[in-house]
Amino acid sequence: MDYSQFLLMTPEVTLALALIVLLVADLVMGNDKSKQYFQTLALVVFGIHTIYNFIQGEISGQQEAFSGMYLTSNIHVFVKNMLNVGTLLVLIFSIEWNKKENSNHIAEFYLLMMSTLFGMYLMVSSGDFLLFYLGLETASIPMATLVALNKKRNESAEAAAKYILTAGFSSAVMLFGISLIYGSCGGSLYFCDVVKSFAATPVQIMAMIFFMAGVAFKISLVPFHLWTADTYQGAPTSVTAYLSVMSKGAAAFAFMIVMWKAFTVSNVAETVWHNILWWIIVITITVGNIFAIRQKNLKRFLAFSSISQAGYVMLGLMSGTSMGMGSMVYYLLVYLFTNLAAFGVISNIEDKCGKVGMDDYDGLYETNPKMAVVMMLAMFSLGGIPPFAGFFSKFFIFASAAQAGEYLLVFIALANTIISLFYYLLVVKAMFINKSNNPIAPFKSDNASLVGLTICTIAMLVLGLISPVYEQLLAWSFGVN
C-alpha cells in the first residue's frame, strides 16, 4: 500500500491528531484546577489545526486516494478550511457559555464538536457511498449529544430525542437506499462505478430517492425538515449555530458531489433527480419562508430562515457547471459568516439576560446599538440587500441557475426573497423602531464574542466587494465530468 496517499488527507490527519491530543489532555488534567486551562488549550490546538491547513499549498486538479474512496481537490480543501473557520467562530462565541453554564462538560463539548467536524470532512471528501454514510453518521450521532448537552433543561433533552429519533429513521431509509444501489448497480459503491451502471430503472430511482431523502434530512429540505425547528430551539445556542451552518454546509456540498458524480451521466437537465430537486427547492424555499413569518422565538425563526436558505443553496446543483459549484461554495461561505453573526448576537444576549423572543428585542438599538447594528447587517445580508455579501452570493447563485436555463426556478426564488425580506426586516423593525417598556439592559459582551462578531461583520461588509475570492473559487471549481 502506498502510504503517501495519507498526505492527501492532511486535514483529516491533523484533526484526528488534535482530537487525540485533547482527549489525552482531558484525561491528564484530572483536577478542577487544571481543568480551567482546558478551554484555552483546546482553542489553541484547534487554532493551530486551522492555520496549518490554511497555509497548505494548492493541489493540482482532482486527486483521489485509496482507489477512489477518498476524493480531494482545491475546492474540497477550501470547504474544509471554511468549516474550520466556522467551527472556530462557534467555539469563540461559546467560550463564555462554556465557563458559565457548561463548566462541567467543557471537554465533552470540544471533543464532540471536533468529532462531528471529522465526520463532515469524510462526508465532503467521500468517493464512495460507504464512506459517505460513515461520515454522515460520525457527524450526526455526536451532534445529538451536543444538542442534549444542557442537561438541566428539558427542552434540550426533548430536542436531542427528536433529533436522534428522526436521524435514526432517516439513516435507516438512506442505508436501505444504499443497499439497493449496491444491488442494482453492479455490486460497487464507488461513485465512479455507480454512474456507469446507473440507467434510471425504477429500482435505481427508488434507491436514489431514498438516498436523497437521507441527505435532505441533514440539509433540512422540505418535507424532511420537520425536526429542524424543535431541535434548533431546544439546543444550546452555539450548537444551533453549528447545526445551522456547518452541518448544513458540509452536507450540501457533499450532496452536490454525490449527485454530480454518482447520478449524472452527461448533463444535469437530463437526469431524473433534476425534476425532483426542482420541486424540492420550490417547496423548501416557500415553506421555509411561510413558516418563518409567524415565528416569535428568534432561534426558531432562524431555523425556518435556514430552511429557506438551504433551498437557495440547492440552486447551485441545478446547473452542473463549475459556476454552479463556485457560486454554491461562495454562498455557503457568505452564509456562514452571516448566520454566525446573527447567532453570535443571539447567544450573547441569551447569555446575558436569557431572552430569545422577538418582542424582547424591541428597542435594542437604544440600549445596545452595536449589537443591533450587527444584527441588522446580518439580516440585510441574509435578505440579500446590496452591497452586503449576501446580495452577491444570491446574485451569483441565481446567475448560475439562470445560465443553465432555469428561468422559472430563479423567478420563484426571486419572488421568495421578497417574502424573506419581509420577515428579516421584522427583526430590524423590532430593534430600531419598536419601543419597549422593558428593553434589554445595556451590557458589555466579553472580548471573545466581540472578536468573533467583528470578524463576521467585516466579512459581511467586504466579502462581496473583493472579487478575487469568488474568482478563485470559480477557478478551483469543476462541473459534471
Binding site: 431509509v173 431523502a213 418535507p223 420537520l226 425532483i276
Partner: protein, 666 residues
C-alpha cells in the same frame, strides 16, 4: 521608488482615511482628526507630485497587458500608460469592470491640480472649520468627507475605463452632496444639497445612456481602445465613413446621440446651461469645500471627460463638438451677465466659475485634430483648467477669510476692508487681475490662447462673444473687489469687538501659495510640451492683435468698475433705477430656476407622476397586498403542520419519500 508599487496608495490612502476618520469621529477631537487627515493627504500629495514629476520629466516604464514595455516618453511624445488595471467585477465575458490607474499628460496634470488644491484646502479648513464647524464631531465628519472626495476625484481622473470613471463620478457627486449639506440644520443648505444631487444625477442618467450605447457597439469600456488610432474602433463599430454617419437611430446618427449624451453628463457636473442651476445654490456649503469642489476640481470633471474622449469626439462626432462650443459660449455670456447683478460674494464667484468653465468647453469645442492651429484649443482648455483652478481656489479662500471676519456673505455688509486685511486684499486683487486676463498673471495666457483658438479656427461669432464675456468678467470681478475692499468703510468695524484682521497662518499660507502660482505662472515649463491633443510638442502662436484687444477690453471693464464702485457714490443706483425690471430679472438669475420648477412641478409631478402613482397605488399595490394577504393567511392556517409530534414528523418523512418515488417512477 517604483511607480507601480506606490500608485495604488494614491487611491487607497484617502479611502482608508475616509473610513478611519468616519469611524473614529467620536474618539478624537475635531482638531486631531483634522491633523491626521491633513498629514495623510500630505503624503498623498507628495506621491501625486512624484508620479507626475516622473511622468513629465523622468523616465520609467511599465509592462502593458500585451507584454510590451511602455516608456513614459518616446521621443517628444508622451505615452499613455496603464500603471495597473485590476479586474474588479466580471459580469460576462465582455462586460468586465476594471479599476485601474491610467497615466497620460492630462491625468498627470490633474493629479497636480487635485493634490495642490486639496492639500491647501485641508490646511485652510483647519483654521476655518475650527470657528465654522459648529460642533466638534462635525469637523471630523468634514475631514472624512474631504478624504472621500479626494479619493473619488483622483479615481475619476485616473480611470482606465469609462465605467470606472462613472463609478467615481457618482462618488464625487455623493461627496459634493455631503459637503453642500454640511450645515444640515440650515434649511437652505439641505435644499441646496438635494438640488445639486438631483440635477447632477439627472444629467448622469444621460451619461449612463451614452456609456451604454457607446460601449455596447464598441464592445469595450477602455479609453485606450476607444481612443486608439484616431478612434478607429468607434468609427468601425458605428460604421462611420467619409460619406455616411453610420448607424442611425430615430433619424439621428447613433454616435452623435451617444457622445452628446456623454457630454450632457459632463454638462451636469460642469454646470453648463441649462444644468447650471445647482452650482450657485451649492455655495451653502463650507467655503473651503466650495473652493475645492465647486471651483477647482469637481466642476471641471465635465471638461476633463470631453478631453479624455477627445479623439472620439473629434473624429467620430465633430458635430457634437460644434454643439459643445455653442452651448459653452452661450453659458459663458449668460453666467457673466447674471454675475453682474449678484450681491452675495460667493454667488458672484459661482457664476464666474460657470462662465470660466464654459471658456474651457468652448476651447475644446473649437478644437479638432489636424494641425497645430486646430489643436490649439485643446491645450488652451487644459491650460485654463489649470490656471483657473489655482486662482479661483484662491478667490474662494479669500472669500472664506472675509466671511470669517464679517460673518456675512452680502456685499452691502462690506466695504473698506483693505485697511484691515492687507494680505487678503493683495491676494484677492491678484486673483481678480488673473481672471480678468491682465498680463503677466496666469489667466492672461490661458484666456488669450482660448480667444486665439476661437479666432484662428474660424469661429468669429464665438470669438466676439467670448471677448465681450471677458470684458464683463473683468467688470464684475472688480465690482466685487472694489465693493469689498474699498467703497465705503462699514462703521460697524470700528465698534466690533474683534476687528477684521488677516487670519492665522493656516488660512494665509494657502492664499500665498496660490498667489505665487498665479503670479509666476509664466515661469512654468510650457504646457505646449506634452499637454496637447497629440501628446507631443507644439507651437503656441501669440497673436498680438487678439491679445491686445483682450487686454484693452479687460482694462475697460476694470475702468468702468473703478468709476462706479471705487468710492461710494450714487451712480450704480441711478443706473439700476433706470431699468428696475431688467435688474431684478438678472438678479433672479433670469428665472431659469423657475422654469425648471415649472416643468418639474406642473408637468412631471402633475401629469406623469400622478398617473403613475395612481397605477402604483391601485394596481401594483393591490396585487402585492393580495399576495401578502395570501402568504400571511397560509402562514397562519398551516400552524398545525408543525406540531412537535415526532411520530407525525416521521410520517411526513416517509410519505414524502413515497410520493416522490411515485412521481418520479410514473
Amino acid at each position: 521608488m517604483e511607480i507601480t508599487s506606490i500608485a495604488p496608495w494614491v487611491l487607497l490612502l484617502p479611502l482608508c482615511m475616509f473610513v478611519f476618520l468616519g469611524l473614529t469621529s467620536h474618539k478624537f477631537s475635531g482638531q486631531t482628526s483634522a491633523k491626521i487627515g491633513t498629514v495623510a493627504f500630505g503624503i498623498v500629495a507628495i506621491l501625486c507630485y512624484y508620479i507626475a514629476g516622473q511622468y513629465f520629466f523622468g523616465s520609467f516604464s511599465v509592462v502593458n497587458e500585451n507584454g510590451y514595455e511602455v516608456f513614459n516618453k518616446t521621443g517628444e511624445v508622451y505615452n499613455q500608460m496603464t500603471i495597473f488595471n485590476m479586474e474588479w467585477m466580471k459580469m460576462t465575458e465582455n462586460l468586465i469592470i476594471h479599476i485601474g490607474f491610467y497615466l497620460d499628460p492630462i491625468s498627470a496634470m490633474m493629479l497636480v491640480v487635485i493634490a495642490t488644491v486639496s492639500l491647501m484646502v485641508h490646511i485652510y479648513s483647519y483654521g476655518y472649520m475650527f470657528e465654522h464647524g459648529h460642533f466638534d464631531e462635525g469637523m471630523s465628519r468634514y475631514y472624512a468627507v474631504l478624504s472621500l472626495f479626494s479619493f473619488a476625484m483622483l479615481g475619476l481622473v485616473l480611470a482606465t475605463n469609462i465605467f470606472q470613471m462613472y463609478i467615481f463620478w457618482e462618488l464625487v457627486g455623493v461627496s459634493s452632496f455631503l459637503l453642500i449639506g454640511y450645515y444640515f440644520f440650515k434649511p437652505a443648505a439641505v435644499s441646496a444639497c438635494k438640488k445639486a444631487f438631483i440635477v447632477t444625477r439627472f444629467a448622469d442618467m444621460f451619461f449612463l445612456i451614452g456609456i451604454l450605447v457607446l460601449s455596447y457597439h464598441a464592445q469595450t469600456f477602455d479609453f485606450d481602445k476607444l481612443n486608439a488610432n484616431n478612434a478607429k474602433l468607434v468609427m468601425d463599430a458605428f460604421q462611420i465613413t467619409a460619406e455616411s454617419k453610420g448607424i442611425a437611430f430615430l433619424g439621428f446618427p447613433l454616435i452623435t446621440i451617444a457622445t452628446f449624451c456623454i457630454f450632457l453628463g459632463g454638462a451636469g457636473k460642469s454646470a453648463m446651461f441649462p444644468f447650471h442651476i445647482w452650482l450657485p445654490d451649492a455655495m451653502e456649503g463650507p467655503t473651503p469645500s466650495s473652493a475645492l469642489i465647486h471651483a477647482a476640481t469637481m466642476v471641471v470633471a465635465g471638461v476633463f471627460l470631453v478631453a479624455r474622449l477627445f479623439p472620439v469626439y473629434s473624429f467620430a462626432a465633430p458635430e457634437v463638438l460644434n454643439a459643445i462650443c455653442y452651448i459653452g459660449a452661450f453659458t459663458a455670456l449668460f453666467a457673466a451677465i447674471i454675475a453682474v447683478a449678484q450681491t452675495d460674494i460667493k454667488r458672484v464667484l459661482a457664476f464666474s466659475t460657470i462662465s470660466q468653465i464654459a471658456y474651457m468647453m468652448v476651447a475644446l469645442g473649437v478644437s479638432r485634430f489636424g494641425n497645430h492651429e486646430t489643436e490649439l484649443g485643446f491645450t488652451a482648455s487644459m491650460m485654463h483648467l489649470f490656471t483657473h483652478a489655482m486662482f479661483k481656489a484662491m478667490l474662494f479662500l479669500c472669500c472664506g477669510c472675509i466671511i470669517h471676519c464679517v460673518e456675512s456673505n452680502e456685499m452691502k455688509h462690506m466695504g473698506g476692508l483693505w485697511k484691515y486685511m492687507k494680505k487678503t486684499w493683495i491676494c484677492f486683487g491678484i486673483g481678480c487681475l488673473a481672471i480678468a486676463g491682465i498680463p503677466p498673471f496666469s489667466g492672461f495666457f490661458s484666456k488669450g490662447e482660448i480667444l486665439t483658438a476661437c479666432f484662428e479656427n474660424g469661429y468669429k461669432a464665438i470669438y466676439i462673444v467670448m471677448t465681450a464675456t471677458a470684458g464683463l468678467t473683468s467688470f464684475y470681478m472688480f465690482r466685487l473687489f472694489f465693493h469689498i475692499f474699498h467703497w465705503q468703510e462699514n462703521e460697524e468695524y470700528a465698534t466690533m469687538k474683534h476687528k477684521p484682521h488677516d487670519q492665522e497662518w493656516q488660512m494665509t499660507l494657502p492664499l500665498i501659495v496660490f498667489a505665487v502660482l498665479t503670479v509666476f505662472f509664466f515661469l512654468f515649463p510650457g504646457f505646449n510640451n506634452g499637454i496637447t491633443a497629440t501628446r507631443g510638442e507644439m507651437e503656441m502662436p501669440t497673436n498680438w492683435f487678439i491679445e491686445g484687444i483682450s487686454i484693452a477690453v479687460a482694462l475697460t471693464g476694470i475702468g468702468i468698475a473703478y468709476v462706479l464702485y471705487f468710492k461710494k457714490n450714487d451712480m450704480p443706483k441711478q443706473i439700476m433705477d433706470k431699468c428696475p425690471e431688467l435688474c431684478s430679472f438678472v438678479y433672479d438669475r433670469m428665472k431659469i430656476d423657475e422654469i425648471w420648477y415649472g416643468i418639474t412641478r406642473s408637468f412631471i409631478f402633475g401629469v406623469i407622476c400622478k398617473s403613475i402613482a395612481w397605477f402604483d397605488h391601485n394596481c401594483i399595490d393591490g396585487f402585492m397586498n393580495f399576495c401578502a394577504w395570501i402568504t400571511k393567511h397560509t402562514s397562519y392556517n398551516t400552524k398545525e403542520a408543525q406540531s412537535g409530534n415526532v411520530q407525525q414528523y416521521v410520517w411526513v418523512f416517509i410519505m414524502g419519500v413515497i410520493t416522490i418515488v411515485f412521481l418520479a417512477v410514473y
